[in-house]
Symmetry: C2
Subunit: 246 residues, 2 copies
Amino acid sequence: MQHYFMTDCEPGHRNLDLPTDISHHLLTVLRAKRGDQFELVLADHQTYLAELVSNGQARIIKRLARQSELPVHVVLACGVPKTKDKPELIVQKGTEMGASQIIFFDAQRSISYWKGNKRERKLQRLQKIAQGAAEQSHRNYVPTVAYAKNWQEAVALAQADECLVAWEESAKEGEEAKLAQNLKNLRPGQRLLAIFGPEGGLTSGEVDAMQKDGITAVGLGPRILRTETAPLYLMAAVSYQLELTK
Amino acid sequence: MQHYFMTDCEPGHRNLDLPTDISHHLLTVLRAKRGDQFELVLADHQTYLAELVSNGQARIIKRLARQSELPVHVVLACGVPKTKDKPELIVQKGTEMGASQIIFFDAQRSISYWKGNKRERKLQRLQKIAQGAAEQSHRNYVPTVAYAKNWQEAVALAQADECLVAWEESAKEGEEAKLAQNLKNLRPGQRLLAIFGPEGGLTSGEVDAMQKDGITAVGLGPRILRTETAPLYLMAAVSYQLELTK
């Protein structure tokens, strides 16, 4: 069933005027008819079952009990990758898997620096991808996409209770249990920040500085994961540990 | 460090003639010089440290202890997706995350039927992507990519000890622990088959028939994952459970 966000609309009204983009999508793209049902997320971030009553108007039928958010807030901070498609993949899949916020930061080995207008346009496009993925995966929240000029600024933006950095050298050192230990200790509502390098990885200088700042280096298994694959591994691990392991 | 497969070459020789594609990549693409080091996986599927001795020849320095294979064999069976990029993403990321075999099968809702020559060309291209991803992630094995005309043929091909099907209705029914139970019961060396629907999902008829055939339906959390995201979630969950959770 189609799922839309109308988070500027407070719940409590029985009939709603749909904004132009939603009514266009329903009527023109999906050719919906009077009585067709869809889901709306309102300002309380709950999902409501709605039906089309006339062109551009919807009637709320009931609130749905379904909750599709992770029990913790996960912030992904990724070194700006070289190519255009990698940030798009991280945002799309990270959103599907439940991320709360996705920050791209300029790491020492980031090659493509996002500058000025170009950066704003990129962020707008990525935010739109997050919105589409949040609709597709029936989320209650759309994650925010942001830019930070370095990892320190990403850490400040994230305001996390627990900070991790994915570091492949951890795997080489035989460190295998730190990620699981950290995830098991998370309490509902806490914020987890996970930092990832760009292509070519973080420098050992960056990782040393992060560790001095109290950030825990964790391995993601013995295989070398591409820059866009590591955040998806982390998101799946968080969901598996906190949603599927009793 | 660069990582190549020479699995038709038995170990035990000190000097090796490199095949044309590897020597071309080393000399022309990477501009490697005499004494430059790289990794070779030989017929025993162990990784060896090698160095370039002259154009087209390598010397084996030593066997490396590193093991990058999952303790179990994971076979992904995915309903043929509509678009070209989704199978490529599944093969690339599935390989990085440790899959042993990736089978695409025609599901009832598969729209793009892979036919005749087209199918062969697609499989060749996907096999090449698997090879590239196995080199990049420093695997000891290159997964095989195959086609099956339906899920029954995929099951027959996989020869698995344990078969799962990802089924989003399981999540709606509040089933949350079956995947974890299944993964915890796997023993090293066993083969796990995980089946995924194409866009639009498997039909309930297909899932009923699978369950009658002894295949366990499992949920992958409360969010609806795209057809290409679900296999990556599964791969990360297997790695997290079997490699990172003690």
